[in-house]
Symmetry: C2
Subunit: 207 residues, 2 copies
DNA sequence: CGTAGTTGTTGGCACACGGCCAATAGTGCA
DNA sequence: TGCACTATTGGCCGTGTGCCAACAACTACG
């Protein structure tokens, strides 16, 4: 009589995946403090100690989940450059809104750092994601190679990114705006920044 | 020989204040999870149990601190209405930037909810603060009494608020922008929203 | 087919932290 | 001076997390 094993032994990657998935599910549901490692372990059908073995600390696991959620979806458009500035901007905005509604819209919730009190590591992760998003935008509107006042441009776009994220929330979650209205807001704002604010900001150099 | 007391007995309000101040200091320094009630108690020179007595739970104390940090400074300008739209917007932006640099700039860090996984109560607090800020802006630019598409207007302004907060950070913390540049960005963006986006958004009603 | 080796996995120990509450001790008042 | 009032303490207890040595599933080799 061959007694069947009490648990299955998996390859490290596979088990890691399982745990990570469970963590994703739970962390998306409730905030960090209200998710216990026991919960995650149970969800994954695994002993609690295994989390530490694969991810180190609970916090480390959390940070990995956040990193995954914060990064903009990779499926960029084919980026057909031509056209006027307005057309390119229009395309960029459309791409953005599509990827918002298409995705499970996970990263729309990945807000700026926690409520208060800097958390350097978390901040670093979110800033990295933000910067990637900025690059994406700059590429899409064919301004990736501006070198003159690069820092200022990026700062403007970063601020714009927050506007975009918030507007997205107003559309998808709070339902106060229609897609067309959000599109309008994003198009006009970006247009103003590129055509109006940037040149002027360059003219009067920064102090 | 009169032995001197081991501790002083204060009025409830005063002691409450002391503890609250200590909590503010520590929560501003490190994130929630890395501040223990013991830390706060030590900082306040008080027994740990007293925190619970005055504030209930650690979380309750935290929420009060956040509420204080998130609310925009009350010292509004005298609000001299007259002038063109551009002048009014200019005044509003100036007021905003002044209150940013003037304050200890605490609330500039009070970002949207935690990194992931909704925290309803925290969210409620931050949304309340955000809405107050929106009201403040609308008053300052004399658009507080628009009734037609109030929800849309407020949504636009809310998104704009995030842009403003981020731009403020780029100026005061990251030093990528000068005050003039931020001013320019905020003025032009708000102008575009009010003069351009809003009318158009109203024309094509929301679906 | 048995057996030793590898390592994914478990279970429990130790410790830190937060909520709670009965006992204590400043403090003003009679 | 003593008494009542209550601000404040100190410790108990449950919970959550990191850690690690033992264990067992699986593999390979004799």
């Amino acid at each position: 009589m061959t007694t069947e094993p009490r648990w299955r032994r998996l390859g490290p990657d596979q088990r890691r995946e399982e745990i990570f998935a469970s963590a994703q599910r739970l962390f998306a549901l409730r905030p960090y403090g209200e998710v216990s490692t026991t919960d995650i372990a149970n969800e994954a059908g695994v002993a609690r100690g295994l989390l530490n073995h694969y991810f180190g600390t609970k916090r480390d696991l959390y940070l990995e989940v956040v990193r995954a959620a914060a990064s903009v979806p990779e499926n960029v458009i084919d980026h057909a450059p031509g056209g006027s500035l307005e057309e390119r901007i229009d395309a960029a905005v459309n791409w953005f809104l599509d990827s918002l509604s298409g995705q499970d819209a996970a990263w729309i919730n990945a807000a700026g750092s926690s409520g208060l009190g800097r958390d350097p590591e978390l901040e670093r992760i979110l800033l990295k994601a933000e910067d990637d998003a900025v690059d994406r935008v700059l590429e899409t509107i064919d301004m990736a190679d501006v070198t003159d006042h690069r820092d200022e441009l990026r700062a403007f776009i970063r601020a714009y990114g927050q506007l975009a994220k918030t507007a997205g929330r107003e559309w998808l979650i709070k339902k106060k705006l229609s897609r067309e209205q959000v599109h309008l807001l994003l198009r006009q704002s970006l247009l103003t920044i590129v055509e109006d604010v940037l040149p002027e900001a360059i003219a009067r150099d920064r102090g």
